[in-house]
């Protein structure tokens, strides 16, 4: 059972509250830069909004969801109280304080640098200090996950670590290491410039540091969704997990291959050699292995559920699935969006094909489909699944939950498919207005309008989500049954030590980081001719 419900709820509510506000900003941005709105009079307002949206959705929301879910998984899977509860609250306070500290200067127009920072643009120091606080708060969570799993292992030396806990610790370790890149950039490059201690910045090096964080952060966002695939979905739809070992291997591989691949975000950057771009491209392709392991294992697990429910035939079993079950809907939607998003990602990770869509709206379409689509829909599912155990009250609005998941799915498709399309047409990203009356741009107008409609549907869906959760707090009290995770077809009696521990995979992750990032970083650090004057962003000047 959950011993610290308030802790988990505090994380979830801060996450979902921030998500709700940032969702409104996103929809507003789609609208003002579409043909439905005259050109915005002050483009700075647009960039301010993009910065707030990206900062909230990229750093605050998924980090808090991962933390909440991690703490819940620790107590539910290890069946004991979380060690370090005071530290956990300290982490929450740091994230909350950091969020406010970062968003205030953004709201005032002092830091419209977008969430990817883009040096040599430099904003108000409080923006960066706030983000550092968010990261430090999340690192407390990383430490607590490790402390808890090792304390449990010491107490239970004969038993394999439960899969949900194993996967959660993998996610936390991935985050702990991948956040280091952006932290180095912030602490050693951007903050000194922002505080007026330095007047130039090596923007190329900063981008390399950021790429260290930028791709693996997506897999950190993905982790709660994947954990839910493996450890909640089969149970929720009445099936069994196809293979416990396959799941562990997939998570372990994510730790290795998700990290040393970020330079595929820098294909257009001249400061990184083509050889490193190729190597990163190869390792990006390797992410397909744990991804396909997951797709196979989860599809097999779902098929087991269908066959248990009397499903027959090669594909006829699909009809036997519990399509009224929100978890079933969520995983199906998530897989469809992951499929399309992954296919689009193949274009991004290819050194050659990327040239056709680099820095276009395709890229924004892609990461919205993967993150806001495939991943966030599973965040919703996780919240729905845990809510009765957190509140001690039932979620009765099944119709509303289904409507919410359907509208999120439809809205995300309507938002992102045209978004990809205009990217192929060459529409650049990060612009506050476009001259759709020009014949070169007019073919993009209709698709952009479609995306606005998608954004509006998502706002409705977001409102439904918050409504369901709030109503969950107001429902009559009940005693929920004990929380269960999925059970594997063959529950593991023994697990290879490598799949019960983390050392091997963390070691490989660190080694590959050195191989794939060592030379580009040191090469740029020791060149004297790569810094440029900083450009202060401050709307009030």
């Amino acid at each position: 059972m959950l011993h610290h419900k308030r802790l988990v709820l505090a994380h979830f509510w801060l996450a979902f509250g921030a998500f709700g506000l940032a969702l409104l900003l996103g929809a507003w941005q789609m609208w003002v830069r579409s043909p439905l709105h005259p050109w915005i009079d002050n483009p700075e307002h647009y960039y301010r909004s993009v910065t707030a949206h990206g900062t909230t959705m990229g750093y605050v929301f998924p980090t808090l969801v991962a933390m909440a879910f991690g703490y819940a998984v620790t107590e539910l899977s290890l069946k004991r109280s979380l060690i370090g509860i005071r530290w956990a609250w300290a982490g929450w306070i740091l994230v909350a304080l950091g969020t406010v500290t970062a968003i205030v200067p953004v709201s005032l127009g002092l830091s419209s640098v977008l969430y990817t920072f883009y040096p040599p643009m430099i904003g108000n120091p409080f923006y960066y200090i706030g983000l550092v606080l968010v990261v430090v708060g999340s690192w407390i969570w990383v430490a607590l996950m490790v402390v808890n799993v090792y304390a449990w292992k010491r107490a239970n030396p004969e038993v394999p670590v439960p899969l949900p806990m194993y996967a959660s610790v993998v996610g936390s370790l991935l985050w702990g290491w991948t956040a280091v890149g952006a932290a180095l950039e912030l602490v050693f490059q951007i903050l000194p410039a922002s505080l007026g201690l330095t007047h130039t910045i090596d923007a190329g090096l900063a981008r390399v540091f950021f790429s260290w964080t930028l791709h693996a952060i997506v897999y950190f966002w993905l982790m709660p969704a994947y954990i839910a695939y493996y450890t909640i979905v089969p149970r929720a739809i009445g099936g069994r997990l196809f293979s416990d070992s396959m799941a562990r291997l997939a998570f372990a591989l994510f730790l290795v291959v998700a990290m040393p691949i970020g330079i595929h975000h820098l294909f257009g950057d001249p400061q990184v050699g083509a050889g490193f771009k190729f190597v990163h491209s190869v390792f990006t392709a390797l992410v397909a292995i744990p991804t396909f392991l997951t797709v196979f294992t989860i599809t097999a697990s779902v098929e087991i559920a269908a066959r248990l429910r009397g499903g027959k035939g090669a594909l006829g079993w699909l009809k036997a699935l519990p399509w009224q079950n929100p978890m079933m809907l969520a995983v199906a939607f998530s897989f469809v969006m992951l499929g399309f998003g992954g296919a689009g990602g193949l274009i991004n990770m290819s050194y050659q094909l990327d040239q056709s869509i680099h820095n276009t709206q395709w890229v924004t379409g892609h990461f919205h489909l993967i993150f806001a689509g495939a991943i966030v829909v599973m965040y919703f599912a996780i919240a729905y699944d845990l809510w009765p155990h957190l509140t001690g009250r039932a979620l009765a609005d099944m119709g509303m939950i289904r409507a919410q998941l359907w509208t999120w799915f439809i809205g995300m498709i309507v938002l992102t498919f045209p978004w990809h399309w205009v990217g192929i047409l060459g529409m650049p990203r990060r612009m506050a207005f476009y001259d759709y009356s020009n014949s070169a741009l007019s073919p993009e107008a209709l698709s952009v309008v479609a995306s606005v409609i998608g954004g509006a549907i998502l706002v409705v869906s977001g409102a439904l989500f918050i409504t369901v959760l709030v109503r969950g707090h107001l429902a009559p009290r009940l005693e929920p049954p004990e929380y269960r995770f999925s059970v594997a077809v063959h529950p593991p009696r023994t697990v290879p030590a490598a799949l019960n521990g983390f050392g091997l995979w963390v070691g490989l992750m660190l080694t590959l980081t050195v191989i794939n990032y060592g030379f580009p970083i040191f090469h740029l650090m020791f060149r004297s001719d790569t810094s440029v004057p900083i450009v202060h962003i401050d709307a009030s000047r």
Binding site: W39, G275, L286, D435, T494, P496, A497, H536, R541
Partner: protein, 262 residues
Amino acid sequence: MSPESPRPGSNRWVAAAIAITVLIASLSIIVGFAWLPIAERDSPFRSVWDAICSSAGLVRTRPITEVVNPGYKTSTVVVSLQMLPTATAESIGRGGTLAARCTMCHGARGVSDANTPNLSGQYAPAIYKQLRDFKSGARTNAIMTPMIENLSDQDMRDLAAYYAYLPRLHPYHSSNEPAPQIVIHGAPMRNIPPCAACHGAIGYKVGTEWLEGESPVYLRVQLEAFASGERHNDISEQMRNVARGMTRAEIERAAAYYAGQP
């Protein structure tokens, strides 16, 4: 889950995992750093070592053999936030004394009707840069050039400090008329950024002038001089590229907008 111990003998896992990782890393490094660059048709590399160095991102510095000469003097001022320290009272005072020579054209307190630039409250880096450019010959003017000739660098800093210290002209725009498109939005398809992004109303960039309340004649003449290339002290042709793309009507509208005063 039954309480049996994790299987011992994980060495095979460790060995296999390391072997596979090393194999993939080595193969991709050989392909990316040596084979692909060499296999390229018309490969520019004379040796494998050349190809490896290039793929790693090492840049060969070539001796500069030929410099394209623009045929006129360009600005040598490096503009940065730190180019002028915070002005001291002494500097402002000295600037005030020196400014006595400027009053004939620029007014007793930096504002005049002589269609010269209003200097009252102007950003210090903007004034300092223009003075330096007049002095170096990057910007020329029959009246200003001889006036500047004997000014020291400190004199120019003091003058900039003094004028920046005076009150700035407030923007005044009729609420009935919307701001011209060129000022607020620029012309994205002609690669013209909004005037207001740098010169006031939306944003400010170091080294640019505050244009609110400026003489419309002065603004028009300067934009035309940029467009014709007669004025060429803008860094990297920033203003020349903008002015060349502007229509005559846009120049008039922008000048009239900024000139608005009650």
